[in-house]
């Protein structure tokens, strides 16, 4: 009950913040480009529809830039923005002077971050649906909802470590640029090593490498299961983040 109330309070703090704008703008970026591509390449679009596997092909094509570029960057940005609300408003001390235990505060914020990640997926999926549906012009392929839901769920799992690590970084640094910069540096490193076996050390690239394996552009033989790796890294980062948070000497969070 207390956790639910804390969660509602955390969600209320996002009102009129840049978070919603970032989710909508970032989430619709690739779908908008894909819509333009489908309309421009109408011959190819018609051929895809005739082939009968239009939606899956549309999804796979769109997710190349989403999994490698947009999703990690947007997750880094949104997670950092949400946690920075307390630093920016100097409200950590007030939050810690309220009768909420540290696990409740930590978990309520984590729940808000996960809901924001889910919202990113909803916006991307809705955008991709429209970007695929608008150019169909009378032709129709059945929409494989269950299959695409599983596809999304897998990438959601791949993004969890990014949420966990960015949460830890954003709690640690008061300055917005520090966690943001560290996240972008991690993402760039991920791009560099995405085709090597060392990619397992860079969680920012998990969604990208998972995508490449799924479409057959990269072998996953030398790697452990990316989904399992993501889940383990997420749990580890959340545990590390909470330890660091709970052991902070200054509950005004003045770093």
């Amino acid at each position: 009950m207390t956790l639910l109330r804390a969660f509602r309070a955390e969600r209320l703090k996002l009102r009129r913040s840049y978070t919603a704008s970032a989710i909508v703008a970032g989430g619709l970026f690739v779908p908008a480009i894909m819509l333009a591509v489908r309309l421009h390449q109408n011959e190819k679009t018609a051929a895809m529809i005739r082939a009968g596997n239009y939606w899956m092909e549309h999804w796979k094509e769109s997710w190349e830039s989403i999994s490698i570029l947009i999703l990690p960057l947007l997750t880094i940005l949104v997670t950092t923005l949400i946690v920075q609300i307390e630093h920016r408003n100097n409200t950590w001390k007030q939050l810690h002077a309220s009768p909420l235990s540290l696990p409740v505060i930590y978990l309520a914020k984590l729940a808000v971050l996960l809901v924001a990640l889910a919202e990113i997926f909803v916006v991307i999926s809705a955008g991709l649906f429209l970007a695929g549906w608008i150019p169909m012009r009378g032709g129709w392929n059945p929409f494989p909802a269950a299959e695409l839901l599983l596809w999304n769920a897998r990438f959601f799992l791949d993004m969890l470590p990014v949420v966990g690590i960015q949460y830890l970084l954003a709690l640690t640094f008061r300055n917005f640029l520090a966690p943001m910069g560290a996240g972008v540096a991690g993402w760039i490193l991920g791009l560099v090593v995405i085709n090597s076996r060392y990619v397992i050390a860079v969680p920012y690239a998990y969604a990208g490498v998972d995508y490449l394996i799924r479409i057959g552009h990269r072998s996953g033989a030398s790697l452990p299961d990316v989904g399992m790796l993501s889940a383990a890294t997420f749990l580890l980062s959340v545990a590390a983040g909470f330890s660091m948070y709970a052991l902070a000497r200054d509950r005004g969070m003045a770093q």
Partner: protein, 313 residues
């Protein structure tokens, strides 16, 4: 105005013998530098306690330690009879606070800010309208907190602290940035809360004159050490004490000779008659000291405060 000793007899009996806040041997260091040293705070239940000291004296550090916002390094803290180390959440349910600058979400309205804290404290929705009325912010509508004047922000911070009907209110510099009218408003508000609702209030400030008409008890801290603590009338008694201020060629030696206070470059010599003053001067001169100046000491409350702050510096 009543004489200070009469004030002591009339005012003090209404306070409980139980302390709302008690600290023992409170010492805290930041990077090897001592911020507070051996502070023994005693805030009687029912009091309005003025915690005074210049900027950087250790007021905020002490209050943060009391509220558990800083990890205790040395000493003991008891709040409302309980230990924050063991019963922190129970204490925080009964304490309202505002530490340093007002903690508000700038993108939210006054009502939304209060809703955030209402959810955290789990108090009824009606409290939002009640505290907004108490602090005079009921008409702020859709205006965001970042657009508020400093006075409005301070009042909203007090509303947040009052939301869950606390028994103890800890306000760190609540009159910071307020104009004289705003200071009067906050003073009247706090007096009303103390008298009508029996709330114990700790209010810190670096300006004595801002709180002297508000507080019943005073603690004066300087360089991390508590210089004075007690009922305001006791401080007034110091003011009333007659004496002279003497400047000499060797104040340290003069202090040893007369066994009096030394503040800055002045010996404060208790003296009830011209004969006592003459005797003090005679002893200094006989000891070979030059006496440069002898002035009648008429310390106002601000002077008493400054002397306490400067003592030992």
């Amino acid at each position: 105005m009543l004489a200070p000793d009469l004030l002591i007899r009339r005012v003090l009996p209404r306070f409980s013998s139980v302390d709302a806040i008690e600290t023992k041997g409170l010492t805290h260091r930041f990077s090897g530098e001592t911020a507070v040293r051996d502070v023994a705070l005693r805030v009687p239940a029912g009091a309005i306690y003025g915690f005074l000291g210049p900027n950087g004296a250790g007021k905020t550090t002490t209050l943060r330690l009391v509220l558990g916002l800083l990890r205790l390094q040395h000493g003991e803290v008891t709040v409302l009879g309980r230990s924050p180390a063991r019963e922190r959440l129970d204490i925080l349910r009964r304490v309202g606070s505002s530490i340093e600058s007002p903690s508000l979400y700038g993108d939210l309205t006054a009502r939304e800010n209060l809703e955030v804290w209402r959810l955290s404290f789990g108090c009824p929705v009606r409290r939002i309208a009640e505290v907004l009325r108490i602090v005079g912010l009921a008409g702020t509508g859709a205006k965001r907190a970042r657009q508020f004047s400093m006075g409005m922000k301070q009042r909203l911070a007090i509303a947040v602290a009052l939301l869950h009907e606390p028994e103890l209110l800890v306000l760190d510099e609540p009159t910071n940035g307020l104009d004289p009218h705003g200071i009067l408003e906050v003073r009247d508000l706090l007096l009303g809360l103390n008298r009508e609702h029996g709330i114990t209030i700790v209010v810190s400030s670096h300006v004595l004159s801002e709180v002297e008409r508000l507080v019943t008890h005073v603690g004066i801290i300087s360089r991390g050490e508590l210089r004075f603590q007690g009922p305001l009338p006791e401080l007034l008694l110091r003011q009333a004490r007659p004496g002279v201020a003497i400047r000499t060629s060797d104040d340290r030696r003069g202090q040893m000779l007369l066994g009096c206070e030394l503040t800055g470059s002045r010996l404060l010599v208790p003296s009830r008659s011209p004969a006592e003053t003459a005797e003090a001067v005679r002893r200094l001169v006989m000891a070979g000291l030059d006496v440069h100046e002898v002035v009648a000491e008429s310390r106002d409350l601000e002077r008493v405060f400054l002397d306490l702050v400067e003592a030992g510096s």
